[in-house]
Amino acid sequence: MLSDDLRGIWYIMLKDLRAYYFKPPNISWGILFPFAFVLAFVIRDAENLDSLVPGLLALTLLFGTSSMEAIVITFERRIGALERLLLAPLRLPALLAGKLLGGMVFGLVTTLVVLIVALVVFGASGVNWLLLILGMILSATAFSAMGVLVSVSVKEVFEAQTLANAFRFPMMFLGGVFVPVTLLPLGLQVVARVLPLTYAVEVLHAAMAGGELPLAILDLAVLSAFAVVFFGFASWVLARQVA
């Protein structure tokens, strides 16, 4: 049964990447999106751009993983294709894991392009590579799991976009991408602590600009917890729908 699940995860991921993700509009949008943000900041203030890099990487991961992820399952349900996966010999969590991996891989690839550009421009000295890789992978997992949860929770594609944005936009402004969380009013700092983007920005900042390692490890643990909770809840929702 495990081999059926693993095979299903792998082929669902490949199918999703081929059918939905690696299409020219998605690739160009996924890469252009963070650069558009950078440009906005250059126009306003070209100083201290390097301090924005961890936040932009986290933001690229957030949008790269969850933009398509949040609509893929809803779309397949709408056209009836999700039934093909539900009929296949694999368990529901394996089906969702295949979906999650598709979003995760796409998010990591687009973020890698942004990372390479950032390293070329600002240099790679002082980068904690292990922390950077772990931070990117766990952030992508948490964000993609969030996309999966959004996708199984709604019926229409436009609802998925709306719900995904309801999560993403507060994160964008409260997650420490543009303004450090410590500079926010206390109430908003509390809100920021329940957002996965906050931990992604923190750990990527620690990996690229130096930071306390124990705190970074705690960030990794919290991102893992977000991934597990989002994914577990999504599996539960889908199982209830099949019943």
Partner: protein, 312 residues
């Protein structure tokens, strides 16, 4: 010699959506068995419970109560093993629009664990069998409705299932495509594949099925061979009265009843009342439609009510 394990055994299967008091009883305590290698028809009007039954037997819906075994395996405990050995063609053609015909078949085989070195050969074989060779590299979304249906069936057969569930396979198809799909079903029977076919087309069931269960309002009314069902209507006689239709054409009406003379008298009286000239009166053998009308008490028009708007 021991009896082979039945393809499907169903006991007391029930599905209720919503609360026990106010919910919808979609399937109500049904029992039936399907033998290996037969084409089993599940015939009933729209909303009778046909699709819900298929959804339960294939793991897409959980039964509220009752038991089912597919290929000797318990639906409640052995679903992943069952899924490997069945193929399902849902009512809507639901392959991936972005993938080509060939890649859709390959993906189906990947999911079901068909060995890598067999996949391309099998996909090409299926494309040839379903006359889709020239559409091999065309995305599913760009195929005609009939081709989409054919490819959806091909995908369900790609891993060589022992039992195939076909849910309203010809709904929405033109006459030529529907005929092609009926030939495919006949071909599956020859290969020894068990076919569970739901339909609301009486002539389709009559032509394809070895045995038929009639389901009406969530309950199975009767289960028999096609000839057995017709025999039940043998006590009755069907009378066809052909008359002019007042517009230069003819019109044939069919009456089924126990009393031939009374039937003929009634038909003639009706024609006279409507001012039509009777051209011919024939008594004919009752058909499955006559049997359906007798056994269910429903009008045959109930079965003709279309879901998808099929071109006749």
């Amino acid at each position: 010699m021991a009896e082979p394990v039945p393809a499907i055994e169903v006991t007391g299967l029930t599905k209720r959506y919503g609360s026990p008091q106010t919910g919808l009883l979609a399937v109500d305590n049904i029992d039936f068995g399907v033998r290996r290698g037969e084409v089993f028809g599940f015939l009933g009007p729209n909303g009778a419970g046909k699709t819900t039954t298929i959804r339960m037997l294939t793991g897409l819906a959980r039964p509220t109560s009752g038991q089912a075994r597919v290929l000797g395996l318990d639906l409640a405990h052995d679903l992943p093993q069952i899924k490997k050995r069945i193929g399902v063609v849902p009512e809507a053609s639901n392959l991936y629009g972005e993938l080509t015909a060939f890649n859709n078949l390959i993906f189906s085989m990947q999911l079901y664990g068909v060995p890598r070195d067999e996949r391309a050969r099998r996909a090409d074989e299926l494309l040839e069998r379903f006359r889709l060779v020239d559409k091999r590299d065309v995305p599913f979304a760009r195929l005609s409705r009939g081709m989409k249906r054919a490819l959806t069936i091909a995908a369900a057969l790609a891993h060589r299932p022992e039992v195939v569930f076909l849910d309203e396979p010809t709904t929405g198809l033109d006459v030529v495509s529907a005929r092609g799909l009926r030939q495919t079903v006949a071909g599956l029977r020859k290969q020894g594949v068990t076919v569970f076919l739901t339909t609301h087309y009486l002539e389709e069931a009559e032509r394809l099925c070895d045995r038929i269960a009639l389901i009406v309002r969530a309950q199975i009314v009767t289960l028999d061979t096609v000839d057995g069902l017709k025999a039940r209507a043998q006590g009755a006689v069907a009378v066809e009265v052909t008359s002019d239709d007042g517009a230069g054409g003819t019109e044939t009406r069919r009456l089924v009843g126990k009393d031939v003379a009374a039937g003929v008298r009634a038909a003639l009286a009706e024609a006279e009342w409507e001012g039509r000239r009777v051209l011919a009166v024939n008594t004919v053998q009752p058909t499955l439609e006559d049997a359906f009308v007798q056994l269910t008490g429903l009008s045959a028009d109930v079965m003709r009510a279309e879901k998808g708007g099929r071109n006749k």
